[in-house]
């Protein structure tokens, strides 16, 4: 189980407004996260990954306390080993598709498997700027999986994919996530797209 209880001040035009999230997520399950634009979904994922620091907070993943601001506990992003699919991809401009994946794992077989899942074999030598929007997004997903993460945090990961591609990707991802025993949190605006795939839902408001 992932326990989250955080308070983050978000700076806005007219002062600060607090983002308070207190909830739990089931492990080894796929949870979809909803919420209007600008509510703080990306911020939540980044706090979980250790990329953004909340003013106050507590995060426990199974028996490990990742964050406890009062006790000054704060794991580094590196220690948390979460896979992160960035909303704006954040790809490495100088690396080819294949090198992106090899950056996360030395396992060539696994890399080949990921390329197949994303239907990216034909582009394994391309650099990000030579990829279409949808290809870039698939690479972002595959890269997050390269480290075989304990938790996979996905920020709008399917928004640039067409229906057929998305269906086949979802179908191929599921057994992989089960095999890796990965807990998956996926932010989405289209409940339909992950329906039947995600097992749980959480709405931020």
């Amino acid at each position: 189980m992932i326990e989250v209880d955080i308070l983050k001040n978000i700076k806005t035009y007219n002062g600060h407004h607090p983002l308070r999230i207190k909830t739990t997520f089931a492990t080894n399950k796929i949870t979809q996260i909803f919420g209007p634009s600008g509510i703080g979904k990306t911020t939540l994922l980044k706090i979980l990954a250790g990329l953004v620091q909340p003013e106050q907070g507590f995060i426990r993943v199974n028996n490990e306390v990742w964050l406890h601001t009062q006790k000054q506990i704060n794991w580094l992003p590196q220690q948390r080993k979460v896979g992160f699919v960035f909303q704006d991809y954040a790809l490495f401009p100088h690396l080819t598709v294949e090198q992106h994946l090899l950056y996360g794992t030395p396992d060539k077989e696994y890399v080949a498997r990921l390329l197949a899942i994303g239907q990216m074999q034909a582009f394994h030598q391309h650099k990000p700027k030579q990829l279409s929007g949808g290809q870039q997004q698939r690479l972002a997903i595959l890269r997050a999986l390269a480290i075989k993460p304990q938790i996979l945090l996905m920020d709008e990961p399917f928004s640039a994919l067409d229906y057929t591609l998305k269906k086949s990707l979802l179908t191929d991802l599921k057994p992989l996530l089960i095999e890796l025993q990965t807990t998956c949190l996926v932010v989405t605006h289209y409940p339909l797209e992950t329906e039947g795939w995600a097992e749980l839902s959480f709405t931020l408001e």
Partner: protein
Amino acid sequence: MDWTPILLSLKLSFITTLILLFIGLPVAYWLSGSHSILKIILEAIITMPLVLPPSVLGFYLLLTFSPQNALGKWLQDTFALQLVFSFKGLVLASVIYSLPFMISPVKSAFDHLPKSMTEASYTMGKSRTETFFLILLPNIKASILTAAVLTFAHTLGEFGVVLMIGGNIPGITKVASIAIYDSVESMDYANANYYSLLLFTITFVIVVTVFVLNRKSAKSPLE
């Protein structure tokens, strides 16, 4: 025609550039990002050696490292290290003098990199050091190359400092810039022209080669 000064100059420039890459890149990285007043002041201090005329900078280095002086004496007694009138001294002086040309442009380049690139690397379990070498450095290669070329050229032409703490010893501190200057002063203009042309040509070839190689690597095999 004596080739020694030219070879000596190339050696000095090469070593200086190499050392500055080692020192400069981490320092530039450390200075980038956060804009604390402390770091701003440090960055300003790095720029200061430039403000002094090279020969005056050389004069102060001479004072500092003169065997008559505490520091110079200590270095000599403890490490048998003599920094005036020696090649090592020239290297040290060139490093100090060219420091800002390496650090400042590279620091700006780091500043321009998007933060998410680093974040993505961290979430993949990579340390600061790994991220620095495998992600950040390759992405500012153009700036590093530019800085290295400027440093190299600047050290080749470096003259005032060398004149002051070098002592014009053939084979040790008589670098090309000094040899050319000597020729000009003694009105042996033919020799000066000859040396200058040679230095020009060699450097030109080096610089163009580096730029062209970089251009190749910047293009993907697909284009």
